[in-house]
Symmetry: D2
Subunit: 154 residues, 4 copies
């Protein structure tokens, strides 16, 4: 399993790891707080899934992977954004990378993401089932989630 490389988790006590979330379908919404498609489409969808599956074996996570305008999207700005947009699920800050001179953060680089928004979907065994760049249609996402959530744990 390819763990998320996170410098700090917000909206949660303690650490979060994909490993500890085994048994749950996990959706990771990779975003930047000043990315228009993230704000207009993906974050609202993430909030909707988070609410819809509050009582089920599904965990929504955010991953703040900043690759541009770094000084405009620091932790204090992210916290204000999350407060204003009522983001209640855990959000991790993607780890800065020395190798990329602080430009592309570590998880983003490791997964070779093309940008934000990106969506990572893991099944109950922690296996990455889908990596999607751009916004995903609600119904399409629902089908994937419905399929995975009714699946067994190996």
């Amino acid at each position: 399993m390819s763990e998320l490389l996170v410098s700090k988790w917000l909206n949660t006590k303690g650490e979060i790891s994909l490993d500890n979330l085994r048994g749950n379908v996990v959706l990771v919404y990779v975003f930047q707080m000043l990315c228009p498609a993230c704000i207009l489409h993906s974050i609202p969808q993430a909030k909707k899934v988070h609410q819809m599956f509050a009582l089920e074996n599904l965990q929504v996570l955010g991953l703040h992977s900043v690759f541009e305008h770094h000084d405009a999207m620091e932790e204090k700005s992210l916290r204000a954004f999350m407060h204003e947009f009522r983001v209640k699920f855990p959000v991790g800050i993607d780890k800065a990378s020395i190798r990329t001179k602080g430009i592309i953060p570590q998880t983003m680089e490791k997964y070779s993401m093309q940008g934000t928004p990106s969506l990572l979907i893991y099944d109950k065994n922690g296996e990455l089932k889908l990596q999607h760049f751009g916004h995903m249609d609600d119904m399409e996402l629902g089908v994937i989630v419905g399929t995975l959530i009714s699946g067994d744990i190996s």
Copy 2:
């Protein structure tokens, strides 16, 4: 299984029955061509599911269950509606009922539907899993479909 009572099927050759559709998840969109919520929300969704699952074990059906303004929604009007709104899936005309003096059609009565739009969802074994009055959210529908389509046939 509770068959649909249909006087005529449009957009298809031959008869359609839930029994013959075993092995498929079946979605029946019950509508009236002059019902605003049907036109604005449910028919567009039905078309979307129909396209999305064109190659899979899922069948979308329409059921035209007229319970008001009968003379404004006769077959010729329904055909014009389907042509203009590009409805490509099979649509059955709910059978007129002598018992209700032609007001409530037979399938609508048999299922005790509250009005239109209504949605009936059957699993691969032809068992009715959900009867919903009003429009259903895209993601919610996706989850149900994803769950049923990954289910086995008994």
Copy 3:
């Protein structure tokens, strides 16, 4: 002035004519009850303008100009449509034309309209200021209406 050629007015007592409406800005929404863009965009906009200017010198009219599927959009169907979609402003039925063998109705032909929805906008002097094919953006319409309604009568 180029009068509308109407066989019957619904939603109003007596006749309606552009001549009698002098002193008002007049918007004529030309539609067919089974035209998707009319139902999804233009009729909702017409209802909105009608409500917004209920107390001002502006009159919204509908004109039902059927040029296809004639037997599916007869008066009884139009009445059911207007009831279901809560259309409260006057709607005229465009006069059938012998010259076009009953296909293109008279007002539609006279104005050389390209189809539905079309919008005709007259100033307070009854002069046609704009003829538009297709749906018009809300803000664009607002600007035109705001300009005309603050204009004088000559």
Copy 4:
């Protein structure tokens, strides 16, 4: 006339003042870059008006009036926001106020604004014709703009 109190203008060379804009209808969109209704509704509308009236006597201005999360919405963040959201019209930064301990900025206080988004509309004579709290409907705005833009300069 009640001038805007601005510490710095972005997206423009030199100073901007309502006085110098006489002869133009002026729309001032008061916003915070992390206010959801501003991002989702008002900024998109401001961009639309700005484009629609590019060649006419109408000027769109932004006013960044931060009254919460100040350290998350500094100039560098605002600049990144404007870049990402393609804001091309001039945006002024509302002047910090010693009197309110840096909380409510000066223009916001002077106009007794209730929050963001707020919209100020001035006629060609520089007179404030409307101060609106919350988002304004496109058609409603169009009517006001159409009325003012066809008005004379006294």
